[in-house]
């Protein structure tokens, strides 16, 4: 078996081979590391490789495999977004302000996957503090879409999506605050899932907007995403917002197919402004397949969709302005120590350490929370948030799950939206409603438009991850569309697919 083959496996296939003994965890890691060495200079999915970690973890996985007590992810190579803390591994949230910060703890979700035997390859690139939709806001470098190196991979978890799409990791973790898992999954042609708010512990996730952030998996199959999600879900005493519900329930009945299910198509999403014809065509084709599989497609409405973006861009910056206050140059990370006094130390450290988009959002959020503006902005946005939740509640009276495009567009060329923040914000128009309402959502590949991947989004009711997975899996099986590993060639933009 060539190393190319090993980097195209799903967890199910890899686990089969590992348990047979035909490959070892070390073989699997080596194949991925070689692939990264070969490709990542072009894709730039990774910020840092974690050789010490993977050597230790692969060795342990191999020992357990030999002893016959291997946990479910033994030997599975994983990439971790730069916002998830891993003990002793530099974790910077894509920002200069955290340069050199090595957390003395590991995020609960990551630790659970380590406990399940996963082997960490490295830290993936992202928009600074997860603020962005293209990974161009990384303070290090932009990541490129493996399907077309001149295009963005989406964001903010662009590195994690690109790594899985390029065969540089079998699975990866991202975070989703307004669409930061689902949108890059769609643009890179892989599966990406954001769980219900509270399903996965946020402990160790460097917060962007605490009431919206959730950690979720990227994978090349719905089954893989489901397995990874089930292993990291469940109550964490270190996160007061984590749910007591058993993590394994995300798998309940998810293989049952869509026959008899009612799938809602919100007209506000279907005809969203700026949706590309090719994307719409791919969604139409997906709806046809789902109907053929026995689902009933019903018309639903989410009437407050238009206000979602505005509400999101009040609430998320408000929370971020507070969450990012701790980066003051006093205790860790970047410090402009030569400042004449403490106020200057704060100012210079933050001016130098934060990028443009982060500064913009801190200022927006500080303004929205200010005395005299709070009622007009933050409070009103919270009211809109309640209305959006009610929209979804009403829609789920009429349907079991909601389907739409994940992103109105396919991957766009690098540099085309960086000068216009509003056009960048519109990338999340179909995904951020799920964050405001705290709902689970998955993006699954649904063909291409002009040769670039399109994602189908399935949103479920609260705690209905199994519903999302069930629709996504039925679609994946019936459509026979797979997340193929992309191998970009060095010289041309468009990869060989």
């Amino acid at each position: 078996m060539t190393s190319g083959d090993l980097t195209e496996l799903t967890i199910k296939e890899a686990t089969h081979l590992l348990r047979l003994g035909s490959i070892s965890a070390s073989d699997l890691v080596t194949a991925h590391v070689e692939r990264i060495e070969q490709l990542d200079a072009r894709v730039k999915a990774y910020l840092r490789m974690t050789q010490e970690v993977w050597e230790r973890q692969a060795e342990e996985a191999d020992r357990k495999l030999r002893d016959g007590d291997a946990p479910p992810l033994a030997g599975i190579p994983i990439a971790i977004k730069d916002v998830l803390c891993v003990k002793g591994v530099e974790t910077t949230a894509g920002s200069q302000i955290l340069r050199g910060f090595k957390p003395p703890y590991t995020a609960t979700a990551v630790q659970r996957l380590f406990d399940a035997g996963a082997v960490m390859l490295g830290v993936t690139n992202c928009d600074e503090f997860a603020m962005g939709s293209s990974t161009e806001n990384s303070s290090y470098f932009p990541t490129r879409n493996p399907h077309d190196l001149l295009r963005v991979p989406g964001g903010s978890s662009g590195g994690s999506a690109a790594a899985v799409a390029a065969g540089e990791a079998m699975i990866s973790l991202g975070t989703d605050t307004g669409g930061s898992i689902r949108q890059p999954a769609a643009l890179c042609g892989v599966v990406g899932m954001k769980p219900t708010y509270g399903r996965v512990s946020r402990y160790g996730l460097i917060a962007f907007a605490s009431s919206l952030d959730q950690i979720g998996p990227f994978a090349r199959s719905v089954d893989d995403a489901a397995l990874v999600l089930s292993l990291m879900s469940g109550l964490d005493p270190l996160d007061a917002t984590s749910s007591q519900r058993p993590g394994m329930e995300v798998l309940n009945n998810y293989g049952a197919g869509v026959k008899g299910m009612r799938l809602g198509v919100p007209r506000e999403y279907y005809d969203v402004e700026g949706i590309e014809p090719g994307v719409k065509a791919a969604i139409d084709a997906a709806l046809l397949i789902l109907r053929r599989e026995g689902a009933e497609i019903v018309d639903v409405s989410l009437p407050h969709t238009d206000y979602g973006l505005a509400a999101y861009y009040i609430i998320a910056p408000a929370e971020c302005s507070s969450n990012l206050a701790r980066f003051d140059g006093v205790k860790y990370g970047l410090s402009e120590e030569d400042s004449p006094n403490v106020t200057e130390l704060y100012t210079q450290t933050r001016r130098k350490g934060f990028g443009t988009e982060v500064r913009r959002r801190v200022m927006l959020g500080t303004y929205a929370l200010s005395s005299g503006y709070y009622d007009a902005y933050y409070l009103k946005a919270q009211k809109v948030r309640t209305l959006i939740k009610r929209d979804f509640d009403a829609a789920f009276e009429k349907c079991d799950a909601i389907v739409s495009a994940t992103s109105p567009t396919v991957a766009f060329p690098i540099g085309t939206k960086t000068q216009d923040p509003l056009s960048m914000y519109l990338c999340d128009v179909l995904t951020l409603g799920g964050n405001l309402a705290g709902l689970p959502g998955i993006s699954v590949p649904c063909g291409t438009s002009d040769g670039l991947p399109v994602g189908l989004q399935v949103l479920g009711p609260q705690w209905g991850e199994n519903v999302c997975l069930r629709v996504a899996r039925a679609y994946e099986e019936a459509s026979e569309i797979r997340a193929e590993v992309a191998t970009p060639s060095p010289l041309q933009g468009r990869g060989s697919g």
């Binding site: 703890y105 907007a209 270190l238 917002t241 408000a318 507070s322 206050a325 929370l369 200010s370």
Partner: protein
């Protein structure tokens, strides 16, 4: 403005550290005052990236008990909020506190005739401490941050401006301390920073309904300092107004060394704290059954106990004993074992309170029977009490073992008295010359020679021989 009658208006903000093993939002133990800096910290109270606060159930319970003891209403929903400001002792850049939905509202504390309304009791976290190298902050060449206290739970008890003098403000703080200790919510030791009183003070023309401009006093470390600081501040405000000036709304510190208040921070440009709901902690839905359990489990409150004791004892004794739950418990238990009320109360106030050593009610009742019946002297009883408190043995055992007895027999005392008179010719002469206090020197000598002598009877015998 001279000659105006001023009325003093005081509202109190009191921060109390509830009795918990760990901090408000993490598992760190509470540090002793002298603990080396930054030894009681973890990633949560250091505010490292990615960590989350988890509320301490014991702190919530202490706060609810306090609120119930202060007759507060407990709303169904309460939540934490973030108070945002940047300061090096605040590791997250915000303090987790409670803003518009506090744990409790609308209570009261009775101070004799005065009813002090309680606006709210809420929970929050303490900040760290800055240590400046150098004698003054603005001359410091280096500053250090100690985060041992960062994240220590605090209850903030806010009163309405219902207090009218430094005396009342001090009584309020003392009463609050007694209450907190009685219900076990806090050890409320001011010297150890577990109870910090911050009075808000203004003055107005007597008879006016409008509030004057207030100042808030900080750095007060004792009840005495509280009293003095308020009196100083009232006089300062009077002088300002009487000389035609205006009081500036500000925070003022109390300097113990200089016995005066000084301006710390002007509130003219009030800081905008940008409060908003803490997204990392879900709103608390307080279980009504639990609250009723806590209410039912509250011990008798000091004011009630005092009024009950006042039915049996003079007011001074009733207040002194009612102020301390342990003393009051001892008193009631001894009386229940048949000890006479007044003698028991006197014994407790004079002998138990100063030593702080406690024995059982039964032991105390027995001791009082021994001393009241004349079997032992008061000095012997004091020894026996301390031994009983230390060892738990009964006073009767101790008295027997040490051979404590009291001699009241007049013929025996006469022999003793004659010896004392012989040995102290000067005192004897003084007494006979009319210096009545010379008798005390003679009595002292007698008690030294014969500790078991009944002091009252011996005194009489001495006086008779000298007369």
């Amino acid at each position: 403005m001279r000659g105006v009658d001023w009325e003093v208006v005081i509202g109190m903000e009191v921060h109390v550290q509830p009795r918990t093993r760990s901090k408000m939002f993490c598992g760190c133990a509470i540090a002793e005052l002298n603990a080396p800096p930054n030894t009681h910290v973890c990633e949560v109270c250091l505010g490292l990236p990615g960590v989350l606060p988890v509320p301490n159930q014991a702190a919530v319970e202490a706060c609810l008990k306090t609120a119930l003891a202060l007759n507060c209403e407990i709303p169904r929903h309460t939540k934490f909020d973030r108070k945002n400001y940047m300061y090096p002792d605040l590791p997250k850049g915000y303090q987790i506190s409670q803003y518009d939905l506090p744990m409790s509202i609308n209570g009261r504390l009775e101070l004799g005739e005065r009813r002090v309304r309680i606006r709210r009791v809420h929970l929050e976290e303490d900040t760290g401490k800055l240590v400046h190298a150098g004698d003054k902050l603005h001359r410091a060449w280096e500053s250090y941050v100690d985060l041992n206290r960062a994240g220590v739970p605090l209850m903030e008890i806010v009163s309405e401006p219902d207090l009218r003098s430094a005396d009342e403000a001090r009584d309020y703080a003392v009463e609050l301390q007694t209450l907190l200790r009685t219900i076990g919510a806090s050890t409320a030791d001011m010297e150890r920073g577990q109870l910090r009183a911050e009075p808000n003070i203004s003055i107005r023309r007597a008879g006016s309904d409008e509030l004057g401009v207030k100042t808030e006093l900080k750095n007060i470390n004792s009840f005495r300092a509280l009293h003095r600081a308020i009196n100083f501040e009232v006089e300062r405000q009077k002088e300002v107004l009487e000389s035609g000036g205006a009081v500036v709304q500000e925070t003022r510190g109390w300097s113990e060394a200089e016995q005066r208040t000084f301006s710390q921070r002007s509130k003219e440009f009030a800081e905008d704290y940008r409060y908003f709901p803490e997204p990392d902690i879900p709103p608390l839905e307080l279980d009504r059954a639990w609250i009723e359990e806590l209410r039912a489990a509250l011990p008798e409150l000091p004011s009630l106990r005092r009024s009950r004791l006042a039915g049996q004892l003079p007011v001074g004794l009733a207040n002194a004993i009612g102020a301390d739950r342990e003393l009051a418990d001892l008193y009631e238990s001894a009386v229940a074992k048949g000890a006479p009320a007044l003698a028991t109360a006197n014994w407790i106030v004079n002998e138990v309170a100063p030593t702080g050593k406690l024995t059982s009610g039964a032991n105390l009742a027995e001791l009082i029977r021994l001393v009241d019946g004349g079997a032992i002297t008061r000095d012997q009883a004091r020894e026996a009490y301390l031994e009983s408190a230390d060892t738990g043995r009964t006073p009767a055992e101790i008295v027997t073992e040490h051979g404590y007895t009291q001699v009241s027999d007049e013929s025996e005392l006469r022999v003793l008295a004659e010896a004392v008179i012989d040995a102290n010719p000067k005192a004897t002469a003084d007494f006979r010359a009319g210096k009545k206090q010379a008798l005390q020197a003679l009595m002292a000598d007698l008690r030294k020679r014969a500790p078991h002598a009944n002091p009252k009877a011996a005194n009489e015998v001495l006086a008779k021989l000298l007369g």
